[in-house]
């Protein structure tokens, strides 16, 4: 491990100033960053520890019905907040389907948004990787790419964003509150993560020193509470990143879908909002054929980036299933095995 400077600022302003220096990185729980440092993938020369910054660990239900989640709220705390979980069940389910209990206890909201791809070549410093070393090339092309992107990828990078949490967030129009030297700005989560294009090294729109202070959900996000699910296919039953995942949230009125929200995970360098599919669904009854049409629309632009064509059909199917389960109604409690299509009955852990 290389030596680095460690700072623990007391205010947001100090943090932003300290992190604006080249080579600086924010340290939240470190569950991703410290791994990257140990593996020689990231070499920050200065760590700016944000864990003691005041006010960032607050979860506020706003008077207008929205909710504001501080960047330091721990993944587990958010998922287990009873009011939050009731109002935004798909988000709680997504959080609880990620990583392990120990990791969720530590991992933060800001860190979850900013976690880096799980492309194995990105982690293997002997490989060529444009995201790690711009211009080096991309060994994942033509390599082991079963789990890589099928949407929004470019010749320079085919990696996916691994977060579960971000998938329902993007479906529900979350907004990222950012503090920088020039003051505060807000960016819709949907445009927060960047598609690779020619600059795969840039995961997000954050500029040097910019700090995520909170993620906000608008009041309208709560209206889907009765019909919201997150589903995730993974290579084993638990404790694995998504092969593909989907968040579906419906507002159902008299048996018809008044409004639909849909997003996919594990398919692109950003949590993938499927607006075309949402349009297909609006005003329809949630019948199998309609759901399938929506799924087709969601993946209309998809193309394999390697040995991963199966993900496209799998994504269509998980979209259809997530929509069907959402239409059937949010389970009373988060299922014992979150994000599993088979644990929709409360407490039914068996064979999940």
């Amino acid at each position: 491990m290389n030596t680095f400077e460690y700072l623990r600022p007391a205010t947001i302003a100090e943090a932003v100033a300290a992190a604006a220096e080249p080579g600086a990185a924010y340290l939240a729980a470190g569950t991703n960053l410290v791994d990257l440092m140990k593996g020689g993938i990231s070499h920050p020369t200065r760590l700016v520890d944000i864990n003691r910054l005041p006010g960032l660990d607050r979860l506020e239900h706003l008077p207008d019905g929205g909710v504001r989640i501080g960047a330091l709220v721990r993944n587990a705390d958010l998922a287990h907040d009873p009011v939050f979980a009731r109002r935004f069940p798909a988000i709680a389910e997504a959080l609880l389907s990620g990583a392990s209990a120990q990791l969720r206890n530590a991992a933060t909201v800001g860190g979850n948004l900013m976690q880096r791809t799980r492309c194995a070549y990105f982690y293997d410093v002997a490989s060529a990787c444009n995201k790690r070393a711009p211009g080096a090339g991309c060994d994942a092309r033509g390599g082991e790419n079963r789990l890589h992107a099928v949407l929004g990828w470019s010749e320079s990078c085919i990696a996916t964003h691994p977060s579960d949490f971000c998938v329902p967030l993007v479906a529900l129009d979350a907004v990222v509150e950012i503090e920088g030297r020039a003051g505060r700005r807000e960016v819709a989560l949907e445009s927060f993560h960047q598609l690779p294009g020619n600059t795969p090294e840039r995961d997000s729109v954050l500029g040097p020193g910019e700090l995520i202070v909170a993620v906000r959900l608008p009041p309208a996000a709560a209206k889907f509470a009765a019909h919201a699910r997150y589903l995730k296919v993974r290579d084993r039953t638990s404790y694995a990143f998504a092969v593909v995942s989907a968040a579906a949230a419906l507002e159902v009125d008299g048996g018809r879908i008044a409004e639909a929200r849909l997003a996919l995970g594990g398919v692109a360098a950003r949590p993938w909002r499927a607006r075309a599919a949402e349009k297909v669904l609006a005003g329809t009854r949630p019948e199998a054929a309609t759901l399938r049409r929506a799924a087709e629309a969601a993946l209309a632009q998809a193309r394999p980036s390697g040995e991963n064509a199966f993900k496209i059909e799998l994504a269509r199917r998980i979209v259809a299933r997530a929509l069907a389960l959402a239409a059937a109604g949010t389970p009373e409690r988060v299922p014992a095995l979150p994000a599993s299509p088979f644990a929709s009955v409360a407490g039914a852990a068996v064979h999940a």
Partner: protein
């Protein structure tokens, strides 16, 4: 009677509370931490190593290269490789150690390792999957076998089945990565090491360093899982000892998880080319099984998976052959359930397909082809109750009634499958001693190992049984080459070999104590801490009194387990009138979500014919663990290999799936047929540590077929193969 009781592990609490101390936990004053610098390419020559920047790092003491190392003496198995690294500039595989940084702290060592500059002249390499195919020399016996006229028999067969079954390379991933601490005192070397057989390390390190084996002591307090990865002696153990000698300070090397991928072995990828022929009646007429797998450039490791096809079913004609593909990879090695583990994936999958083609129930098909004697040699079995195991397993599972069971449960489509389990019997000689002290305490002393399988539980149990003592009065002292030479803790061999030597040592101790108490030999009984005469009056005298009266402080009984011809190793009872194997059947229920490609283990029954069970609790744990191990092989495990770069790709547990708790069905039933095998060992026991892992992958694939109609012939069965 303590044999046969389900005693809990005495070491359980220490392990789960972190009190158990493993090799790397040993406190040694003044040691240097070592970090390996691995070759970044799979082939080529190291022409220069610049350690200046590393040496300039605070805390870095030395940067050792091939030039600093002694010239190692020749080594052969149980050295994992014959060509040791850091002797010249040749690179044979990625990750091969080319330099070692020694530092006062681990952090400094690792930092220094990252700063060592290598100049490498790269050379073309052969990747896994693009190597040179060859017929290897027969290290573990002949690599081809022919009985009858297999080609003619196959061609003439009414029913023919030809198919290829594949499996990927997989790593052992024990919880504790390998670690070694080397301490020299003058010419004497002590190694604290994480191993499955300390005496192998003693012999090989001594040979490599050109010193007498007596000068090397290997201490291995606990081993945090090995699964075969710590069976042979790997170069890093020799390098650590050499580095400590060069640096004149104790040195500790703990491999990182990533380094475990290229510095110890793995189970090689395999293709099984199967051809089975059967008559109209479903009787096998020909079994042909060819296996090809990757091995290192320098040494031929042969995974004798074809053993499965020589020992499982009656057939008048059998042909088996092994080939290797030599590539620039690190050396493969045995992994839990070697040979039959992979072999039965090929054979049992093919048998299942043939049973369907013939139109017979897979269990009936297997019963019809039951091998009453060893199919390869015609010798009688030492004991075999597989028929009972099939029947009792089928009953526990409800196999015969499965047609009446629902095939759906919500989104799940259910499928049922079964397969035969079998392992050969690797036996090794062993010695032990049992010490009875005047205070009534008893120690069993043998240089075996605790790799988590239950040796700390069952060896005291065996001695306690003989000595009529509660097992918690008996303590096992193990993991030290100064102790009587115990057999290795691999190859499912410990209970038979070490256990038998413990039995004999306890009997000998009882006899010695009886002599002190003036009791006629053969009539000594010990019970409840007392010793007396069989059928004699009264309860006898307390052990302590017997010793004190005779004026001695202790007695030490010695025991040995030897093999025919005093051989160092015996496979399957070779050279004896009997063939020794273990047997069983595994029945699996899976749920498949055909739409989403999800596969879940819902239920399993394992029913085994494996000799006498010493402790039903630890035995059940072994079999359950074996089935889970098999589930990992079936459903998820693969070590991704990067062909263009010639290296393992995901060298960590985040990128390689192995089963987690949620993958494990709550309903795994284990059954043992009541059996005593007098030929395998005087205990009547046989090896069980690997048997449970066999057959599972084929049973799973068969259950997947039952559920979906899809035959999966390539492991692992991940979502992409099912959608």
């Amino acid at each position: 009677m303590s044999i046969g009781e389900p005693l809990p592990r005495p070491d359980g609490r220490d392990k789960v509370t972190g009190r158990a101390r493993y090799a790397a936990d040993q406190e040694v004053a003044g040691l240097l931490h070592a970090a390996l610098v691995g070759a970044p390419t799979p082939s080529g020559t190291v022409t220069a190593i610049d350690g200046r920047e590393a040496l300039a790092t605070a805390g870095v003491a030395r940067v050792l290269t091939a030039a600093d190392m002694p010239r190692f003496g020749p080594v052969a198995p149980p050295s994992a490789v014959s060509k040791l690294p850091m002797q010249d500039g040749t690179i044979r595989h990625e990750g091969q150690p080319v330099a070692i940084v020694l530092a006062e702290t681990l952090e400094a060592a690792e930092c220094g390792a990252g700063l060592v500059r290598l100049t490498i002249e790269p050379a073309p390499f052969r990747p896994q999957g693009g190597g040179e195919v060859a017929v290897p020399p027969g290290i573990y016996g002949p690599v081809t076998f022919t009985k009858g006229d297999p080609d003619a028999a196959f061609l003439a067969a009414e029913h023919q089945h030809i198919a290829e079954y594949r499996q990927p390379s997989r790593h052992h991933n024990p919880m504790e990565p390998s670690a070694t601490i080397a301490v020299w005192e003058g010419e004497n070397l002590t190694l604290y090491d994480s191993v499955q057989h300390g005496y192998s390390v003693q012999a090989i390190v001594a040979a490599a360093l050109n010193i007498r084996p007596e000068r090397v002591r290997v201490i291995s307090p606990h081993t945090g899982g090995g699964f075969g990865a710590k069976g042979f002696v790997w170069p890093h153990e020799i390098l650590t000892a050499a580095a400590a000698r060069v640096a004149r300070r104790p040195v500790k090397l703990a491999l990182s998880r990533a380094q475990m991928y290229a510095n110890v072995g793995f189970q090689p990828n395999m293709v099984h080319r199967m051809a089975l022929g059967a008559g109209r009646n479903g009787r096998l007429t020909a079994i042909k099984h060819e296996v090809e797998h990757v091995t290192a450039l320098s040494d031929d490791f042969v995974e004798m998976a074809t053993a499965a096809s020589r020992g499982t079913y009656a057939s008048p004609a059998i042909f088996t052959a092994q080939k290797v593909e030599r590539a620039n990879v690190n050396m493969p090695t045995a992994m839990r359930a070697p040979w039959e583990g992979p072999g039965l994936w090929g054979l049992e999958s093919a048998i299942d397909e043939l049973a369907h083609a013939v139109g017979q129930d897979p269990l009936d098909f297997r019963l019809a082809n039951y091998a009453e004697t060893d199919p390869a040699t015609g010798k009688p079995w030492s004991s075999k109750k597989l028929r009972e195991a099939y029947e009792e397993g089928a009953r526990l599972f409800g196999w015969r009634e499965r047609a009446g069971r629902p095939k759906r449960d919500g989104p799940w489509t259910l499928g049922f499958g079964m397969a035969t389990c079998s392992m050969g019997a690797f036996r090794f000689p062993s010695q032990a001693q049992v010490r009875i002290k005047a205070d009534g305490s008893v120690t069993v002393e043998t240089g075996c190992h605790d790799i988590g399988t239950g040796t700390l539980t069952i060896f005291p149990q065996i001695a306690a049984d003989v000595l009529g003592l509660p097992p918690d009065k008996v303590e096992l002292i193990m993991g030290d080459t100064r102790l009587p030479q115990g057999g290795p803790t691999y190859g499912s061999s410990s209970t038979m070999g070490v256990g038998a030597s413990v039995l004999r040592a306890a009997e000998n101790a009882r006899e010695l104590l009886g002599r002190l108490a003036n009791l006629p030999a053969g009539e000594v009984v010990m019970k409840d801490g007392r010793i007396g005469r069989r059928g004699g009056l009264g309860a006898g005298v307390p052990i302590g009194d017997a010793l004190r009266t005779a004026g001695v402080g202790e007695v030490v009984g010695k025991g040995r387990f030897t093999l025919p011809g005093d051989a160092p190793f015996n496979a399957d009872g070779e050279g004896t009138p009997h063939t020794i194997r273990t047997f069983g059947a595994v029945f699996i229920e899976v749920g498949v979500d055909c739409e989403l490609g999800l596969l879940r283990l819902r239920r399993a029954v394992g029913s085994y014919s494996a000799g006498r069970v010493i402790n039903p609790r630890t035995a059940r744990a072994q079999m359950t663990g074996g089935i889970i191990w098999g589930w990992g092989m079936a459903a998820m495990e693969a070590s991704p290999y990067e062909k263009k770069l010639g290296r393992w790709l995901s060298k960590n547990l985040a990128g390689v799936a192995i089963p987690v708790n949620a993958d494990i069905a709550g309903d795994i039933q284990i059954h043992f047929v009541d059996e005593f095998d007098p030929h395998a060992s005087p205990l009547g026991a046989k090896g069980i540590g690997e048997l449970g892992a066999t057959g599972v992958a084929a049973a799973v694939a068969s259950a997947v077929f039952d559920a979906t109609g899809k035959r999966i012939r390539e492991l692992p069965i991940t979502p992409g193969k099912l959608v």
